[in-house]
Amino acid sequence: MELKIKKIQRALVDYNGNTSVQTGFPSPATHYREPVIDLNQALTTSKEATFYVRVKGNEWRDFNILDQDILVIDRALSPALDTLALVIEEGDFNVIRITKLKSQLELWGIITYIIHKAI
């Protein structure tokens, strides 16, 4: 039997009522406040399954992954063709692009974002 259970999700942006903090004219923005952008919301789906990994060296330059980059890894995702994945090969970590869905693939997690420092 197929079961799909999902947590009820809160609205992503909720209206945040507030009182004015100005001493002179009350702020016209008081009733329009929203939570500021949070990278966790954009870059991760489930926090239980999200891990961050740092890359040392330029071994995976072909995938646009450079030295000191941080990989956002989502373990909740299923492997799909053409996605980047962190896998285990002979007891060591490796980054691969999934070209064939072989069952013997020892998957650690799917790479969802590559955080690259620009300065």
């Binding site: 947590k7 961050y52 040392k56 962190l86």
Partner: protein, 428 residues
């Protein structure tokens, strides 16, 4: 129905998530101060001649000969992975009782219409996929039976770590298999008493008359009897009980004689415990400090003493508590001994908002602002970013801090300690 989900060799599993090279190899985790082994994985358990609680230096050669990988305990990491596991469990039922760092009861009441074996397998697979931690699942009508089902799920490879105890046949078979000493919640004394009347397994126990059990084993035994007979009587507790006392006592990395250094460790422990006190929104009425030499040492002169101070006004203020702690320590400290451990207990806890003021107490409110700022900074930038001067500097702490030589990085809580992958690791 209730599911008991527990993590397989939890501490070792946490380490192995980030060390795939250790798959299938023996792994052990050490106690605070690297004194002895507190956890082993399956492969290390198979090496039967490695005892728990034996001083490490005595068994080091055996560990080396068997290529056992040792880790100092990394509770920051274990705590985070535990939270992740429990949060995944909450996607299966809104009612999850976190029983310990690696065990939870999941309430499946009202889910009788679904195939529980499939559901249990889904729980097991989702937890390991999301967190990397393997778990076992036992499902049964009561907590005690669920615990037993969990045990069975691990003992018999055919179960594949999921066992549903849902029929009368299975229940009786399970009870006959379980020895009394393996029943969750049945203490050693009760097991001995049962042995005297010829009861050695759980089935024989459930066949005793309830009146006898009640008389000889009090209400605790009665509850076990009822639960094993399929009648659920241990309720779900989704809220943790509030602590009545908060304490910490850790051995120093090496023996200390100097009062100033001991004061530093004492202040640090007070700082740690008072943070917990504030998180729980409580104040303490008494502060106890104790100091002891190493009682196992044959060469040292022995001394131990403790002092309990009644605070003028119950407080959770780190600075007030540190200065009181210092006073207590000075009263019990004697020159000329090599001390092994200092301990701190915060007692007589009362809710923050029920503290009775004192006519002569002043300056409390000023300190409250300071302490809030203190907590805010440490929450944002990490533990001990700011700390009371007396609790020592990074450098001075080296004199008394616990030895954690083999601690793995805090992969999930510190940017500076992330898992690193790449060529560098390969050549090393």
């Amino acid at each position: 129905m209730i599911a008991m989900v527990d993590c397989n060799s939890f501490y070792a599993s946490c380490e192995q998530v980030f060390r795939p090279d250790l798959k299938g190899r023996p792994v052990a985790v050490l106690s605070n101060n690297d004194g002895c082994i507190i956890a082993k994985n399956k492969e290390a358990k198979a090496l039967t001649h490695i005892p728990y609680s034996e001083p490490l230096f005595k068994i080091k050669h055996v560990l080396e000969a068997n290529d056992v990988t040792l880790f100092s305990s990394n509770y920051t990491l274990y705590g985070d992975l535990s939270d992740r596991v429990m949060n995944v469990l909450r996607t299966f039922s809104p009612d999850v009782e976190v029983y310990s760092i690696d065990e939870s009861f999941v309430n499946l009441t009202g889910m009788q219409h679904i195939d529980l074996e499939t559901y249990g397998t889904q729980i097991k697979e989702k937890v390991v996929r999301y967190t990397g931690i393997p778990v076992g699942v036992g499902i049964a009508p009561t907590k005690v039976l669920a615990k037993l089902a969990n045990r069975i799920s691990k003992k018999f490879p055919a179960c594949k770590h999921v066992f549903v105890l849902d029929t009368e046949d299975k229940r009786i078979k399970a009870l006959k298999w379980a020895e009394t000493k393996d029943i969750w919640g049945l203490g050693k004394k009760h097991v001995e008493r049962l042995a005297k009347v010829g009861v050695f397994n759980a089935y024989e126990f459930t066949q005793l008359p309830l009146s006898w059990v009640r008389k000889e084993m009090t209400v605790v035994g009665e509850r076990m009897w009822r639960e094993l007979n399929g009648e659920s009587c241990i309720t779900f507790e989704t809220l943790p009980r509030k602590k009545k006392a908060i304490g910490t006592a850790k051995s120093f990395g090496k023996k200390l004689s100097d009062l100033a250094t001991i004061e530093e460790a004492c202040a640090y422990y007070i700082s740690e415990t008072s943070e917990v006190l504030r998180a729980q929104k409580c104040c303490c009425t008494y502060l106890q400090v104790f100091l002891t030499t190493n009682y196992h040492s044959l060469y040292d002169n022995q001394y131990r003493d403790s002092k309990t101070i009644t605070l003028a006004v119950p407080t959770n203020n780190t600075f007030t508590l540190i200065s009181e702690g210092k006073r207590a320590l000075q009263m019990i400290y004697k020159k000329g001994y090599r001390y092994k451990k200092v301990g701190v207990n915060l007692l007589g806890l009362i809710p923050e908002n029920q503290v009775q003021g004192n006519l002569f107490a002043t300056g409390q409110s000023l300190n409250t602002t300071l302490i809030k700022t203190f907590d805010t900074i440490n929450n944002r930038y990490g533990k001990s970013t700011v700390s009371a001067g007396l609790s020592g500097t990074k450098k001075s702490k080296k004199q008394w801090e616990l030895i954690k030589e083999e601690r793995s990085p805090r992969f999930t809580t510190q940017w500076g300690e992330l898992l690193e992958i790449g060529i560098i690791k390969k050549t090393s």
